[in-house]
């Protein structure tokens, strides 16, 4: 518990982590306002749901900087491991911190986006299961943040995971392109969880896994990557 409290304090005094939190909360609201102003979504709830995946960008930033800050800006890792020599405990504390912060950010971001969209575009007819789908986005964000944390633990540098995770989700989706060649790509962590982010009618992939099995596949990836990160962190010289 002391390790979690220490890691939480570290995250909340790190400007880059606070920027990640701000992006996670504000970016969905900004996009929801845009959708609502254009009137394309049909309702405030749909605008907020369509904008909610923006929370994942902040989640990735949080997951990355929680670890990359240990290796840049003064090589803090020696101090961290001198204070907390049980390395699995450190990784678990970081994972718990990142998960809690992302979940909290997602829980704040959706109502804020919804409220902002209502103020701009009015309420409109609500789609089905708004809360469930908003929660799905939150789960996706937590899992992708933990995947970012695990990958950064392996690379000890934030640049590569930031590029891979954010570019793969926005600029060019390698996973999506692979899915055109083989249905196995649907089991890659980002595509597996895709239906938690968006309804079947809003994604360009046929036969994407349903939210629950997809979420479980993504969670299995997350657990596996964290396990590998724990072994590597435990064995290597700091």
């Amino acid at each position: 518990m002391a390790a979690v409290a220490a890691e939480l304090r570290k995250a909340l005094t790190l400007p880059a982590a606070l920027a990640g939190l701000a992006v996670a909360v504000l970016a969905p609201a900004a996009l929801a306002v845009l959708y609502a102003a254009q009137g394309t979504a049909g309702s405030a709830a749909q605008a907020a749901l369509d904008a909610a995946p923006m929370v994942t960008i902040g989640a990735i930033v949080l997951g990355v900087v929680a670890v990359s800050s240990e290796y840049g800006g003064g090589r803090q890792i020696a101090g961290t491991l001198a204070a907390m020599p049980r390395r699995r405990t450190v990784l678990a504390a970081k994972a718990a911190t990142v998960a809690v912060l992302i979940a909290a950010a997602a829980a704040v971001a959706f109502p804020v986006a919804l409220l902002a969209a209502r103020l701009v575009g009015g309420t409109g007819p609500a789609p089905d299961d708004v809360v469930g789908r908003a929660a799905g986005t939150g789960v996706y964000a937590v899992l992708i943040g933990l995947i970012a944390l695990a990958i950064t633990t392996l690379t000890r540098n934030g640049i590569v995971p930031l590029i891979v995770l954010i570019a793969n989700g926005s600029v060019v989706s390698v996973s999506f392109l692979l899915s055109l060649a083989t249905p196995l790509a649907l089991y890659l962590p980002d595509l597996a969880g895709m239906r938690m982010l968006a309804g079947d009618d809003r994604i360009a992939i046929d036969d994407a896994l349903a939210p629950l099995p997809g979420g479980l596949v993504m969670a299995a990836w997350t657990a596996a990557l964290l396990a590998v990160a724990a072994v590597v962190l435990g064995r290597r010289d700091a």
Binding site: R9, T13, G73, G74, R75, A78, G79, A83, P85, D237
Partner: protein
Amino acid sequence: MLLFDDVVKRRGARDVLSGVTFTARPGRVTGFLGPNGAGKSSTLRILLGLDRATSGTALVAGRPYRELRHPLRTIGSVLDGSGAHRSRTARQHLAWVARSNGIPRRRVGEVLEQVGLADAARVRAGRLSLGMGQRLGLAAALLGEPAALVLDEPVNGLDPEGIRWIRGLLRAHADAGGTVLLSSHLMSEVAELADDLVVIAAGRVVAAGPLAAVTAGHRTLEDAFFALTSGGAP
């Protein structure tokens, strides 16, 4: 208190440490002396559980560092600068370190006062001078009121007044029964402060014992140092 028993560290084909054995005792300042690249930092990093020894053991109060539950209450260390992330303030840095080892929050203010950083508590670590960074590192080491202090090149970046101050602090710590192990490549620093000496060259301990015994037969510590380290190198 601090015990190294036949510590070997191999990196690839290179032997960084070949059977390092010595003890740092309570009530004594132990100077760990050697040229750059001799293996001083590697030895200390293995003691602190940061690097893994290829073989041999390093023990703190009879236990490997990684088994200490709240290590900072037993042993404080300073390696290479403050160890703080550049964008955290001195106070923020010490606050998480204290929290991680269940150290009461009031200690943060106390150690800031003790190392002379009370006025710089809200300055980001990246903006501290080299000497102030060393003081912040020392503040973190003192947080848990540990019996043992381990310092890697502690006088780097300190001005003459700072050097005099740290000497007084370490002397007082040992006189109060604490264990002090400090590495240096500066003989004059160690000669004025150490009770015991351990001299390392090319990953091997070439001399260890009370200051007078190690320097016996040589005019100065400097003469002893060069005689020992040139003989010990392959």
